[in-house]
């Protein structure tokens, strides 16, 4: 998540205090990604160092930040450049399933099923927010909720696929047990664990 560019985007509308920037960012993204104040001031310090913003003290001695021309150029560049897809965030669910498979110490299908219930439940919650937001006319907020919906959907569909793969594997293993002419090693190999 680019806090740096988001802060520039907020400042493009006008000068603001550091705390105001935090509040604006969180309001715009519906509090989905809360920022801590320290993170905001660290980022503003770097933006100032890079001459993308300037800071002046107001009557109360508090810093007011303003975007520079270089800052506007940087912001424009951000909007013009797609976010690279190779930045794959670490996904705990995928990592957990991989280790559930490889360790062999747990019922993987049950792990999948529990996760799917949790994921669909989260999806229900976002969908409720969306239904309520439809009438608000806040298109940016709706699109942000759509993003959360499609991410949860992707995870739920991937879990469906995992379940189907496990079911097929079980069926194949069952068939292999009933028909000894199929080399038993084949099914065992597919489900082999750390050695694979």
């Amino acid at each position: 998540m680019s806090v740096r560019h988001s802060l520039l985007a907020v400042l493009s509308a006008g000068p603001m205090h550091g705390y105001g920037l935090k509040t604006e960012f969180e309001a715009a993204t519906g509090d989905v990604w809360p920022l801590n104040v320290g993170q905001v001031y660290t980022t503003l310090g770097r933006l100032e160092r890079d001459e993308l913003v300037t800071a002046e003290a107001d009557a109360d001695g508090q810093k007011v930040y303003q975007i520079t021309e270089a800052g506007r150029d940087e912001l424009a560049r951000w909007f013009e450049t797609p976010v690279p897809r190779q930045m794959i965030p670490r996904q705990e669910v995928a990592i957990k399933l991989v280790f559930a498979m490889r360790s062999g110490v747990t019922d993987v299908a049950a792990v999948v099923q529990r996760q799917r219930v949790a994921t669909v439940r989260a999806l229900q919650d976002v969908t409720r927010l969306k239904a309520a937001a439809e009438s608000s006319g806040d298109l940016a907020w709706l699109m942000m909720l759509d993003a959360l919906v499609f991410q949860a959907e992707a995870e739920a569909r991937w879990l469906d696929m995992c379940e189907a793969r496990l079911a097929r594997e079980n069926t194949a293993a069952g068939t292999a047990r009933r028909q000894p002419e199929i080399p038993a090693g084949q099914a065992a190999k597919r489900s082999s664990q750390w050695s694979s």
Binding site: D31, Q113, A122, D125
Partner: protein, 240 residues
Amino acid sequence: MVLLDIDRAGRAFGSGHLRVVALDDVSLRVSAGEFVAVMGPSGSGKSTLLRLAGGLDRPTSGRVLLAGRDLAGLDEAGLAQALRRQIGFIFQETNLLASLTAAENVALALELDGVRPKAAMAGARGLLDSLGLAATGSRFPGQLSGGEQQRVTIARAVAGGRSLLLADEPTGALDAITGESVMGLLRQRCAAGCAVVLATHNVRHAAWADRVMFLTDGRLAGETGPPAGPECLLGTGQAR
């Protein structure tokens, strides 16, 4: 009030070594105003469950009660009447009659309930109006988009105050936004006191429901329960 009570229902086809169990010991209770989605891969028993709920098929074990009445105790005529009065069906194919306008399609459902033609037409127009479909009333199905046709089908399904809506993949052929508008309409009917059971592959659409059930090989594999609320989702408790 519990409208639909499927109590440990099972449905098997064939016998001996050809016996196939499509549904095994599945229970589902749906109250007025509640929206339940049933998910599962092809062959998991979703449609069988919906057919039992709608009285289109009978369970080989367990019971199906509609507004407290065991459907097994009804003869064919009694069953047909109970279903027509209380249940609206929505399928992927809209099945609107092509030679009738949207309003006439809805009015026909009312006329079959014994409403006189003029009153049925007025009722149909009023219903379409309340569902934001007033503009479709005088048009023929062929002049409506897929989404409009599906919404008119929902209007027809709820005409006459039917209290239970059974929807089997109603959004299969629709684009993302139109599909959502159909879900929004089902949600709206729940708010008006209908009970809705939706069978779908689409998890985004299932998420419009109060509860989502997962079927695998004819058995209940999991259920989400009522939504936890957005506070849980966003962690900060400040969601707007």
